[in-house]
Every structure is written in structure tokens, then in C-alpha cells.
């Protein structure tokens, strides 16, 4: 027996799909962040200013400054490649991070964040930072994600602060 397609259902379906697509597109548009390296940030500094970005770099331990009274946290990160494959070719994440921190000529950028200092923020950790560049070229972070690989511990959990 062939049923007649139900007009109510079809209209309802179309309305739902349109609403969902609108919701997803509008939310996507206002919340995207480009994933960049320190190098890319520095070379495109002027165009990127004020845009929401996500970047990754190697934490330079001696640059970490933290004022627990105001929760002002700042530190410097050094350039590491953004591509997993390149990192693997260069000898793994731990080595890439250590080399980046040791290399005084590696491009660097200062991160500023207000909030509780993540436990895993330390020398040669990988920082994945969300935020935007301000007029002085300082990266104002809204979210920090830390990774620290080490030789006999490939399964380290990461840590977020927000």
C-alpha cells in the first residue's frame, strides 16, 4: 500500500533543518579560531590583530611571571611547527620543544593571561593558547591548554585552564 506523503511532516522537517543549519552556521561563524604558529602570527601581525586565534608554542621556563594577587600570568613561547608530521620528522614533540626553547633565534611571542596558573605550565611544555593579539603584539589569552611530553611518558594528560 502506497501512502500519501504527509505535508505537515514535510513542512515540519524543512523548518527543523533550516533552524538547525542556521543555528550551526551562526554559531560556527562567531566562534572560529585559526590555528597558527608563532611564526605565522609574527609575520601577519597587523592583519590578525583583534581576531580570535589559537596558537601553539614551546614555553620558555624562565620567562614565566605570575602574580597570584591579581592572577596576572605572562610567559614567552617559542616557535614550533604546527604540523604533527613535521614534528615527528624532527624527532618528536619532546625534542622539538627542547630545541625551540634552547634556540635564541627562534621566533618568540609573549602571552598574557588572567587566571589560575595551570599546574603543567613549565619549561619546555607545549602551550596551546586561545585568544587574540593586542596592539603591542602581546597575545592576550582566554584559554590555556598545556601538554608536556617526556621520554618515558607518552601518555601524559594535558591540562586546561580557563
Amino acid at each position: 500500500m502506497k501512502k500519501k506523503p504527509n505535508i505537515k511532516l514535510i513542512i515540519g522537517g524543512i523548518v527543523i533543518v533550516i533552524a538547525l543549519v542556521y543555528l550551526v552556521i551562526s554559531a560556527t561563524r562567531s566562534n572560529t579560531q585559526y590555528f597558527m604558529t608563532v611564526n605565522e602570527l609574527l609575520t601577519q601581525q597587523s592583519e590578525l590583530q583583534g581576531q580570535k586565534l589559537r596558537m601553539s608554542g614551546a614555553v620558555v621556563g624562565e620567562s614565566i611571571q605570575y602574580d597570584p594577587a591579581s592572577l596576572d600570568l605572562s610567559f614567552v613561547v617559542a616557535q614550533i611547527p604546527g604540523d604533527h608530521k613535521v614534528i615527528a620528522e624532527m624527532g618528536g614533540l619532546a625534542k622539538v620543544l627542547a630545541d625551540a626553547v634552547a634556540d635564541p633565534n627562534a621566533p618568540r611571542i609573549t602571552i598574557h593571561y588572567t587566571g589560575v596558573k595551570p599546574d603543567l605550565l613549565k619549561d619546555e611544555a607545549q602551550a596551546i593558547v586561545t585568544g587574540s593579539l593586542d596592539a603591542e603584539g602581546v597575545f592576550q589569552a582566554t584559554e590555556l591548554l598545556m601538554k608536556c611530553p617526556s621520554k618515558y611518558e607518552s601518555e601524559l594528560p594535558d591540562q586546561v585552564g580557563d
Binding site: K3, N6, K8, L9, I16, L20, L23, V24, S26, A27, T28, S30, N31, T32, Q33, Y34, F35, K52, R54, Y66, P68, A69, L71, G82, H84, A88, L93, V116, K117, P118, D119, L120, K122, D123, I128, T130, E143, L145, K147, C148, P149, S150, Y152, E153, S154, E155, L156, P157, D158, Q159, V160, G161, D162
Partner: protein, 667 residues
């Protein structure tokens, strides 16, 4: 010990392959009944698999550092219970544990003789078992040993990698990461894995049903208990993870839309939709196709979640890092999806249930809306998860979506969902109209308006919080009203209540959802926070509380770390109500520390303190104190979810009988 562990695993793997061969052979001869030999072999294989797991545990507990996995996750200072939990603390061990869980589920199903009694069902489940065991065997073997080569270098391998190499046990590991040393680690991963594994059985059974018969009848009745059990474990697993994340500072709080969290929520959403639509099939014999699709999707989405967690494609709190298992997992997932889709397509016509859309306000339609919203949220989450990959493929640069995306796209849908849930129980089964409904809602609406007004005066002026409180109050009032309507006229209300466990179990689950929402309102909308630097004797106020710093203490509980604690007296009015000890465990050798929050939990909320900084010489500390009102309703709500589902599970769906009379009396 290595020989025992690896050998029993290898034997178990060979037995799996033998079973595979036997089963395929039988199917080729069109025999559907699982043979005695296969049953016996499966049990034997499981015993060997278990022996292998026990051996690995033994190696961990006795710290055999010739095993590379032990070096990864164990160190001498680790207490015994953490040496056990280290089984799921690293990639290789947790994958091995996962394959064992699958085997465990298979054996239970096989021996209970309730589902998976056809060769097809056994075959599909076995293929999953073999796939994940294969990954453990060839790509992430937990029994790999450390070898010293003749040139002094170390290598990692099962058997001697070169002539003259010696097993080396001189490496002492750093042990389980300090962040994983928490009792959440004991229970969250296994519970979640059982939930994941339990969805495999309905998946296998459904595919088998489609291969053999394929009309969608009776399937749900048989699968209901298994699906409920799987859902309970999945729910408990997610809730425990959320609770752990809240209890340990720095993992982003109770929910951070982290990719791994999100990926476990997707199968939860879909299976929750399934619980609703399968109820309709049991009552009215409709939605057969949808149910089959949802059962299959639930498990496929679990494999997807494993892929997200394991492959390191997307940066996440839980990430295990880059791994060789990515490609095999993707291939396996795609093959499973294509195969499932083909099988469903083949039986599509046969599963027609002739449902017609009759009214916008019937219970059928409301169940359908619930399902649509749940699936829509799952789609939003999937989009959010995959967007970095999609954008990398199409634009070359990786673009990620932040929390704001979920807040904006998922929150409206979640609110709509809970609103629907609040309204639904008062709507009759088939056709309803608005006028009749209006009468039933009068009292619950009144309650909700009063609650919202009270909240406006005493709690919050934020409209989102007020809307949420309105919905919560409405939902609870409706549940009470319906229960009253059901029971106040019957002669023996208690025995009717007991008889209708499947119905009131669902009510309990809904109560749980409303309580969780209440907890979220508390944390997101009503919390208050302060921070300050204090010397002994200083006091800082927060709400009706006072935080007094007494002294800074430090001592070595174990040689591994120095535990620094701020001793804080929590004042409420003129009396001290609690001693809080937030602090840090400092692992000097690995230059890492773990913050330990100090908190006081009551039903009204948590008083949560963190030590931000300290100076042992000067004796000052910086403290952040936060009041999270109502937060514990989240965990209570999660408990209700599991309790309600278990309550429901203890009884079959009551088809007609008393329930029918109660339900339809006003229609």
C-alpha cells in the same frame, strides 16, 4: 611471567581466530546455531585473556621494569591501588583492557543464552573482539620488553631485537602521572569501558537479526535490558568523569566541551533517543526502522569516540598522543558504517511500521520531537568535533571551534529538550488538543511561576537562570501531578507504583535531568568568587562566609612529593564550620606540581578553595575561594539517572493493563 602473560594472550588470540573460522564455516553451511565447540572455545579464550590481564597486573604490582609498559606507568613510590589502576593509565594497557571488556561482554551474552544465540550475532561481535585484540597484539602490545643491545642502546620489543641483546630492567619509571592519581581513576575508565562494550551486544544482535529475519519485530523486547544496562554504565561513566574533572583542579571543571568529553556525549544522546523510540515500538509497534538505525549508530559512534580519544587527531585534555592505531581505526569504522548501512538498506521495506503523523500534540509526536532534538544536538557536537579536520581539508588551515560554539548552538537545543521533557508526561497517548491540556497544566504552571518569582527575589536576575528555574519547577511539578493523577484513585497505590516500575523509572530519570540542570544553574549562574594574599591570622569574606588563613604546613607524605597545605578555617557567622586544606603536591623530581583543592560540600553548595601560590619562607599564601551553589544536585541528578534506569530495568514494559486505563481515561 612475560611468557605467561604474552603466551596466554597469544593463545587467546589464536582461539579467537579458530572460532572465526568455525563460525564462518557453519554459516557457509547455513547453520545458525552456535556449536558447542565454539561455546567451549570462547569460554576458554576468555579465561586465557583474563589470565593474561592478571599477569599484566601482577607485573605492574611487583614492578617488573623489564616490561616497557610498567616503566611507563609505575614507579616504586606508587601505592598498590594505583599500580592496579595503571592498567588503564596508558595507551597500551587501556587498549588491552578494552579488548578484555569486549571479550567479557561477549562471554556474558553467550552464556546467558538470551541474545547473540545466532552465528551471525556471534560473528559480528567476534570480529570487533578480534580487531581490538589485533591492535593490542601488533600495534600497542603491553607486554613489550626493554632490551639492551650490544652497543649499549636500549630498544623496545617483544622478543630479542638483535643477536646478543639482553632484557634490561634498569629503567625506573616516573610512574603514573600525578594528575591521574585520584580515586576517580579507579572507577571512571572501567565504568565507561563497560558502557562502551555493552553497546556492542545490541549492535551484534541487531545486525544478526537483519541478516536472518529483518522485520524489526521482537528485537527491541529482547534488547531492552541490554540497552538499559549499557546506557546506565555509559551515563555513570560520563558522570564520574565530570565529577572527577570538577574535583581535580585544572581539567576544566565539570564540563568543558573538550573533544573527548563531547565524543562520549554523542553516543549518549543517540542512545537516549533510542530509549524513547524503543519505548514507542514496544507500546505501539512503530519506529522499527528508526530503532534499528539508532542501535547501530550508538555503537558506531562509540568507535568514533574511541578514535577521537586514541588517535590524537584533535587536541584534548585526554589525548593519548599520536598513535599508529589511527589508520586501522578509521578503516574499521568506515567499513562498519558501510556494512551496517547496506544491511539496513536491504531490509528497509520489510521494517515498515505504517506509522502516520496524526497530531502535533500526541505523545507519539512529542517522542518524535525529543528524538529529533537529541539527534540534532548530537549532530551539532559532531560538527564541532570535526570542524578542525573539515577546515584543514577544505581550506588548508586548521580552524577550531571554541566553547562559545557549543554554548551558542547546543544550549538552546538543550533548553528546548528539557522544556519538552517537562511538558511531555501530561500529554495523552494518541490525539490531544490544547484545550484539554491547558486544564491539566494549570497547577504545575502556577507552581513554576511561583518558584520563578521566588528565584527572582532571592537568587538571580539573569533571565537565562530564571528561564531554567521555571522549566525545572514546571518539570518537577508535572511529574508530581502525573504521579498523583495515576495513583490517588487506585486502591493500592504502592503496589501499582511497583507494578509500573518501567514508567516511574523513567520519571526518576527525568527528575535526574532536572536536578542536573539545577546544578548547572548553580555553577554557571549563581557562583561567587574572591581571591587574596593572606598571612596567618588574615581573614577574607565571601558571602556569609569568612576564610581565615591559620598556617602553612608542608611535609613529605611519601618521598615522592612534598605536600604543601594551607590550613584554613571556614567561618560562617561567629563559628568555624570547617577546616579546609587546599594546597599543592610538589613532585620535585619531575618538576611538576598538582593542585589539591580544599572544599566543604553541602546540599546547598560547595565552598571550594584553591591555593594559587605560597611562600614557605615568608609563610604567606594566595587563596581563591569560590561558592558553587547547588552544584551537588548535578551528582545527585546523575545518580537518579542510573537509579531510574535500573528501576525501569527491573520490570518489563507494561503493555496494556492498569497503565492503559490510567493513561487514556481523559482522552
Amino acid at each position: 611471567m612475560f611468557i605467561l602473560g604474552f603466551g596466554s594472550f597469544a593463545l587467546a588470540a589464536i582461539i579467537m581466530l579458530v572460532c572465526l573460522g568455525l563460525t564462518i564455516g557453519q554459516l557457509a553451511r547455513k547453520q545458525h546455531e552456535i556449536s558447542k565447540t565454539v561455546r567451549l572455545l570462547t569460554n576458554l579464550g576468555f579465561s586465557l585473556h583474563s589470565l593474561s590481564i592478571l599477569t599484566l597486573l601482577y607485573l605492574q604490582i611487583t614492578q617488573d621494569y623489564s616490561i616497557s609498559y610498567v616503566v611507563n606507568v609505575i614507579n616504586p613510590a606508587l601505592p598498590t591501588y594505583l599500580r592496579v589502576t595503571a592498567l588503564w593509565g596508558g595507551q597500551a594497557g587501556s587498549l588491552f583492557f578494552w579488548s578484555w571488556i569486549i571479550n567479557f561482554c561477549l562471554v556474558i551474552a553467550l552464556n546467558r543464552r538470551h541474545i547473540l544465540q545466532d552465528n551471525w550475532g556471534y560473528l559480528f561481535t567476534l570480529i570487533n573482539l578480534i580487531f581490538f585484540s589485533g591492535i593490542s597484539m601488533f600495534l600497542e602490545n603491553p607486554f613489550k620488553r626493554v632490551w639492551e643491545l650490544t652497543d649499549g642502546n636500549l630498544a623496545e620489543s617483544l622478543f630479542s631485537p638483535a643477536a646478543g641483546a639482553q632484557v634490561y630492567s634498569g629503567l625506573i619509571g616516573q610512574g603514573l602521572n600525578p594528575l591521574l592519581r585520584h580515586w576517580g581513576m579507579i572507577i571512571h575508565p572501567p565504568v565507561l569501558y563497560i558502557g562502551f562494550g555493552a553497546f556492542l551486544l545490541p549492535f551484534g544482535e541487531t545486525l544478526s537479526h537483519l541478516m536472518v529475519k529483518g522485520d524489526g519485530e521482537e528485537l527491541i523486547a529482547r534488547l531492552r535490558p541490554w540497552l538499559l544496562v549499557a546506557w546506565i554504565f555509559l551515563t555513570a561513566g560520563i558522570a564520574l568523569g565530570s565529577w572527577w574533572s570538577y574535583d581535580v583542579l585544572g581539567w576544566g571543571g565539570y564540563w568543558a566541551w573538550d573533544p573527548v568529553e563531547t565524543s562520549s556525549l554523542i553516543p549518549w544522546l543517540v542512545s537516549t533517543g533510542l530509549l524513547h523510540s524503543m519505548f514507542l515500538q514496544q507500546k505501539k509497534d512503530i519506529f522499527k526502522r528508526i530503532n534499528v538505525i539508532l542501535i547501530l549508530s550508538s555503537y558506531l559512534l562509540i568507535i568514533f569516540s574511541i578514535l577521537i580519544t586514541r588517535a590524537g587527531l584533535i587536541s584534548s585534555v585526554h589525548a593519548f598522543g599520536e598513535s599508529a592505531i589511527t589508520i586501522p581505526l578509521i578503516v574499521f569504522l568506515l567499513a562498519s558504517v558501510v556494512f551496517s548501512a547496506a544491511v539496513v538498506a536491504r531490509r528497509w521495506k520489510k521494517m515498515d511500521s505504517g506509522w502516520e503523523f496524526k497530531s502535533w500534540f500526541s505523545r507519539d509526536s512529542l517522542f518524535l520531537y525529543t528524538l529529533i532534538i537529541l539527534v540534532a544536538i548530537a549532530l551539532v557536537c559532531t560538527w564541532g568535533l570535526l570542524y578542525p579536520l573539515i577546515s584543514r581539508v577544505f581550506t588548508g588551515t586548521e580552524v577550531t571551534l571554541d566553547r562559545g560554539f557549543y554554548d551558542r548552538a547546543a544550549t538552546p537545543l538543550l533548553i528546548l529538550l528539557v522544556l519538552l521533557m517537562a511538558v511531555c508526561p501530561l500529554v495523552g497517548w494518541s490525539v490531544s488538543n490544547l484545550k484539554k491540556l491547558g486544564k491539566r497544566y494549570l497547577i504545575p504552571l502556577l507552581v513554576a511561576v511561583l518558584a520563578t518569582a521566588a528565584a527572582y527575589i532571592w537568587l538571580s536576575k539573569s533571565w537565562v537562570a530564571l528561564l531554567a528555574i521555571f522549566i525545572i519547577a514546571l518539570g518537577l511539578a508535572v511529574l508530581v501531578a502525573v504521579t498523583w493523577r495515576d495513583l490517588h484513585k487506585v486502591e493500592k497505590p504502592l503496589s501499582t507504583f511497583w507494578k509500573m516500575r518501567s514508567r516511574y523509572g523513567a520519571f526518576l530519570v527525568h527528575t535526574g535531568i532536572l536536578l542536573i540542570m539545577l546544578g548547572i544553574v548553580g555553577v554557571e549562574g549563581l557562583s561567587d568568587s574572591i581571591q587574596g594574599t593572606l598571612i596567618p591570622g588574615d581573614k577574607m569574606p565571601l558571602g556569609e562566609y569568612g576564610v581565615e588563613f591559620v598556617e602553612l604546613t608542608s611535609n613529605y607524605d611519601t618521598p615522592e612529593y612534598l605536600s604543601v597545605r594551607a590550613q584554613i578555617d571556614l567561618w560562617k557567622g561567629d563559628e568555624i564550620v570547617a577546616r579546609l586544606t587546599p594546597g599543592q603536591d610538589v613532585y620535585e623530581a619531575r618538576s611538576q606540581y598538582v593542585s589539591i583543592p580544599g572544599k566543604r560540600s553541602t546540599l546547598a553548595g560547595d565552598f571550594y578553595t584553591i591555593m594559587l601560590d605560597y611562600d614557605l619562607m615568608m609563610g604567606y599564601v594566595s587563596i581563591q575561594a569560590t561558592i558553587n551553589p547547588l552544584v551537588n544536585f548535578m551528582w545527585i541528578g546523575a545518580f537518579f539517572l542510573c537509579l531510574g534506569a535500573a528501576f525501569s530495568l527491573s520490570s518489563p514494559i507494561v503493555r496494556e493493563q492498569a497503565l492503559g486505563d490510567l493513561e487514556e481515561d481523559e482522552n
